[in-house]
């Protein structure tokens, strides 16, 4: 992994760094500990994000800018943190504000994650099977805990 270190070569590490160790030397441990999910969704989402990053200015026939790389990266980070093995794959929608919206509309759940930049995203969630619940509309930054319940509903219903 590329790092910011620029050290002079007066020493060298003699064991793999921990991330590499976790992924290569201890694959079974990692799979068990992280309950490594099937990540078919990841390829589909990455493909969609790459397409959005490469779109021209005005892609929506108005003046929308393309998706920024770092916003796309953060959107992927959100999913990598919350997706579970049977969570449906989200639709990846380009946003007229220049961001990206990851959304699900199934199983009685409306869930939208609108990402415009790292640490700048909004959540919209409705449980249509709960007649008394109100929509949840939040502006969020670094805490993903609000996603636990909607993702659980999407995954287990």
């Amino acid at each position: 992994m590329t790092t910011a270190s620029a050290r002079y070569d007066d020493y060298r590490e003699t064991a793999p760094a921990a991330d590499a160790a976790r992924e290569s030397n201890f694959p079974n441990f990692a799979r068990h500990y992280n309950a490594e999910p099937e990540r078919k969704w990841e390829a589909a989402v990455v493909q969609a994000l790459v397409r959005l990053v490469n779109m021209p200015i005005g892609w929506d026939s108005y003046n929308a800018p393309p998706l920024r790389r770092d916003a796309a990266h953060f959107a992927l980070e959100i999913l990598q943190r919350v997706m579970r093995p049977r969570t449906p794959i989200p639709q990846v929608t380009p946003s007229a504000a220049g961001g990206v919206q990851l959304e699900w509309h199934e199983k009685g759940v409306d869930l939208e994650l609108h990402v415009t930049a790292p640490y700048q995203w909004e959540l919209w969630f409705r449980d249509l099977q709960d007649p008394i619940s109100q929509p949840v509309s939040l502006e969020l930054t670094d805490d993903f805990s609000e996603l636990k319940r909607p993702i659980a509903l999407l995954t287990t219903r």
Binding site: A96, A97, V100, H105, K107, E112, S137
Partner: protein
């Protein structure tokens, strides 16, 4: 440049037209229908065409879709946007006398309100 002030010249009952790209259409399994994504309404200075103004110039909704093959079109009332404290500002452009902007921050709640108020003027087969 004139200020972005809603002078009320566009009535609450006026229909506003917005183009929707194919990849901004959601297959909503809860509704059992295709509808625009709220992401299509998130632009803080969202461009639309005011339908009554098109009519005044002998035009109709097909004008908004000219040169945009593959796009669909929704309409929603100006009053719905104003109810969410958005400003409706008529800004004619060369070649488009009906160009209007719906100005203001669109939270997910506001954008979804616009979705709920929208109907298809034209839905392009996907």
């Amino acid at each position: 440049m004139p200020p972005d002030v809603d002078d009320g010249s566009i009535a609450d009952g006026a229909d506003l037209l917005r183009r929707i790209r194919p990849d901004q259409i959601v297959d909503d399994k809860n509704l059992g229908a295709q509808r625009p994504s709220s992401a299509a309404f998130k632009d803080p200075t969202m461009s639309v065409d005011t339908e009554p103004i098109l009519h005044q110039h002998g035009l109709d909704w097909t004008f908004t879709l000219r040169n945009h093959s593959g796009y669909s079109l929704v309409r929603f009332k100006a009053g719905v946007a104003r109810a969410k404290t958005l400003a409706i500002v008529h800004k004619p452009e060369p070649g488009n006398p009906a160009h209007t902007e719906v100005i203001g921050k669109k939270t997910q709640g506001v954008a979804n309100r616009l979705v709920a108020a929208s109907t298809w003027a034209h839905l392009e087969p996907l």
